[in-house]
């Protein structure tokens, strides 16, 4: 069978189950686009390539599939870098296809040539420059396999224009076999038996779960494990939704803006079971003081995550799902008599911490941003898929919207990309057309990828954008307030557009609330109407509200500044 590179690409993408591509055309990918429109694959035309990658990221998380992007060479490719780096930090499976100048021109500083494989080497799980049309199908299959297996991540494929438009005799590439890539899935049983022994013995255990639970679809196994072993649970930002936010064992999020009790528990526990986490500095604070009294178990599929930042008593390399399933089986046989009795004091202590300091705010004359998020939670019954921008808005979303299920909180956790939320919401909405998708945004961040409103309008997506408009780059202002004597260097954004008019200019709906009374009205109106277009809801909130608790960077996580 004679096929061109572009045709082989389409055929292989279909075989990999791709039904949606986020992209933006250009000279180096015209041949590919020419074939793409002949298939039944849906192409979402974004307005900036960064938007394509974040949208694919949101899509991947909401759909539980690999997200796919297609962009042109040079500037198209460089525009994807932030999105790729974010997906890499958050372990999101993506395949990013970039066009490249024809092979004969590579290295000649050709028009729109850039060494995107070189540029993205440190922020992709792997990347390829396709050397021949014959190898194209195999490369694509490998890329998908690498992106979704092991610790997932983005893979980039750079396809020279002449590889795409050359016709060859197509041969089936067969199954992917890679001698140099074999992630460990099944954990060592003996290590897990050690974990069970520690669980039996522990008086003050805590589970610290992360994004690995969500990626490996192990929320149910985690919940069962926690209940069976009678262990309270905290999660990282990336782990929100991995454990039900309404469960009595739930401690809230850990870390810099974690709850008082989650941070206290971690510091005073005698056993910390870390699952699917990588001990980010925003979680640990000062590492020497982190869980200093505890034996630490660390279960993760990526061996480099283990003992990178924190010393560990029992390392377990493997898939979280496999580990938890085995652990649950072992617990069925274990000696858990009077386990509840053993933990009684510990849970009493946690209750005291909870009463001592809860997440709170005082609603006065001006709208408090936390109030908006809390109302949003109430009105949506906690059922919406929430994406966020970055800054205070992100932290208030994490603290005041409670997540009971996985894949409902989509945020740029590791890289912290302002401008992530709107395109991610677009991707999530495309993956879940019947669900309510809300981007909780800041006035600064939303301007970073606001052009994607046009994409949402064109695709008739009912994405809701809730702007917590404080007129500041609020999170940076908060640091300046606390640690730089209130010198607000360049964080006041007093020249923002009128977001209502801006929404309307895009063909979307714009609503605004300036008083406390209006919050509920605007939310109700915005959430329950407009099924065929996006809505921006602009909430003019208290300008100088801060996120608490807060652990200053590098301090032990027990040193929390409270409200």
């Amino acid at each position: 069978m004679k096929l061109s590179g572009a045709q082989i690409l389409m055929k292989t993408l279909r075989e990999e189950g791709v039904d949606t591509i986020f992209g933006y055309p250009g000279g180096a990918v015209i041949d590919i686009y020419d074939e793409l429109v002949k298939t039944d694959i849906r192409h979402v035309l974004v307005r900036h390539e960064q938007g394509a990658v974040h949208a694919a990221d949101g899509y991947a998380r909401a759909a539980g599939k690999v997200g796919v992007c297609l962009v042109t060479s040079g500037p198209g490719a460089t525009n994807t870098v932030t999105g790729i780096a974010s997906a890499y930090m958050d372990s999101i499976p993506l395949v990013v296809i970039t066009g490249q100048v024809p092979r004969g021109l590579i290295g000649n500083d050709a028009f729109q040539e850039v060494d995107i494989v070189g540029i993205t080497r440190p922020c992709t799980k792997h990347n390829y420059l396709v050397e021949s049309t014959d190898s194209l199908a195999r490369v694509i299959k490998e890329a998908f396999y690498i992106a979704r297996s092991g610790r997932p991540g983005p893979v980039l494929i750079d396809i020279p224009k002449d590889v795409a438009n050359t016709t060859v005799d197509y041969k089936e590439p067969g199954d992917v076999k890679m001698r140099s890539y074999n992630p460990t899935i099944n954990p060592n049983k003996r290590q897990l038996q050690k974990v069970v022994k520690l669980v039996e013995k522990a008086r003050r255990p805590v589970i610290f779960a992360g994004g690995g639970i969500i990626l490996s679809k192990s929320s149910e196994e985690l919940t069962r494990f926690a209940r069976q072993a009678q262990i309270p649970v905290t999660t990282s930002l990336m782990g929100l939704g991995a454990f039900p936010g309404s469960d009595p064992f739930w401690l809230g999020m850990i870390g810099m803006h974690g709850t008082y009790r989650a941070n206290m528990c971690t510091s005073e526990c005698d056993l910390l079971i870390a699952i699917g986490v990588r001990f980010d500095d925003r979680v640990t604070g000062k590492t020497d003081a982190f869980a200093a009294q505890a034996e630490i178990v660390h279960i993760d599929i990526d061996p480099t995550s283990i003992r990178k930042n924190i010393p560990v008593t029992v390392p377990v390399v493997g898939d979280c799902h496999a580990a938890l399933t085995t652990l649950n089986g072992m617990l069925d046989e274990a000696d858990l008599t009077d386990i509840a009795g053993k933990r009684e004091q510990w849970f009493a202590r946690i209750g005291e911490w909870k009463n001592l300091s809860r997440l709170a705010y005082v609603q006065g004359e001006t709208i408090k941003p936390q109030y908006v998020v809390e109302k949003l939670y109430e009105l949506t019954g906690g059922d919406a898929i929430i994406t966020t921008e970055v800054g205070q808005n992100q932290m208030w979303a994490a603290q005041f919207y409670h997540f009971n299920r996985p894949n409902h909180f989509i945020t740029s956790g590791g890289l912290g990309v302002m401008g992530f939320g709107l395109p991610a919401a677009i991707g999530a909405q495309i993956a879940q057309p019947d669900r309510l998708v809300v981007d909780i945004a800041g006035d600064g961040s939303i301007q970073m990828n606001i052009q994607e409103m046009a994409t949402a309008v064109q695709c008739r997506l009912p994405v809701k954008v809730v702007i917590l408009n404080n007129g500041y780059l609020g999170m940076v202002r908060q640091w300046q307030e606390l640690f730089y004597d209130k010198r607000y260097a360049c964080t006041c954004m007093d020249h923002a557009p009128d977001f209502v008019k801006l929404a309307e200019a895009f063909g979307a709906v714009g609503l605004r609330a300036t008083t406390v009374d209006e919050v509920e009205t605007v939310l109700k109106k915005g959430l329950s109407n407009y099924k065929d277009r996006p809505v921006i809801m602009d909430f003019v909130v208290d300008k100088e509200e801060s996120v608490y608790p807060m652990v200053p960077a590098g301090a032990p996580i027990t040193e929390m500044l409270l409200v």
Binding site: V117, G118, R121, P122, K125, H126, L129, E131, I146, M178, R179, S180, Y181, D302, P303, T304, R307, K308
Partner: protein, 162 residues
Amino acid sequence: MAEEKHVLSILVDNKPGVLSRIAGLFSGRGYNIDSLCVAETMEEGVSRITLVTQANLPLVEQIKKQLNKLINVIKVFDMTETEYVQRELAMIKVTAKPENRAEILRIVDIFRCKVVDVGAEHYTIEVTGDEGKLAAIRSLLRPMGIKEIARTGMIALFRDVK
């Protein structure tokens, strides 16, 4: 914790860009490279990179794991963990004044090296050995005036067949 020298022998797919993946990993994460050697192995499509680094124990563990995480890395051996033989080749261009020539040739003889080039003012000496031998000959030749040195970097193999 004390830093130690580790000789890592890394089998990799012989694909374009592999070396820059490894070099990039080291520079991006702030690990150091004392020396690095690359060449093909007996097996087609597989190359061996011998890399010498200084690191304390937890760090060298992390380095090995990070190397293994690279898709094109097949296997990483830490030679320092067991018995191994190491060799490096150096070419040393040393000033050879008439009054020093005999002394230089004596050193060459004792160290079992070779003079591979002779000029009006210099000898170029080829020496193969482990680090200690190379350091020793350098220090003996230094008083005569070393003009240039080119070194291959270390290569190593386990003593036992692995």
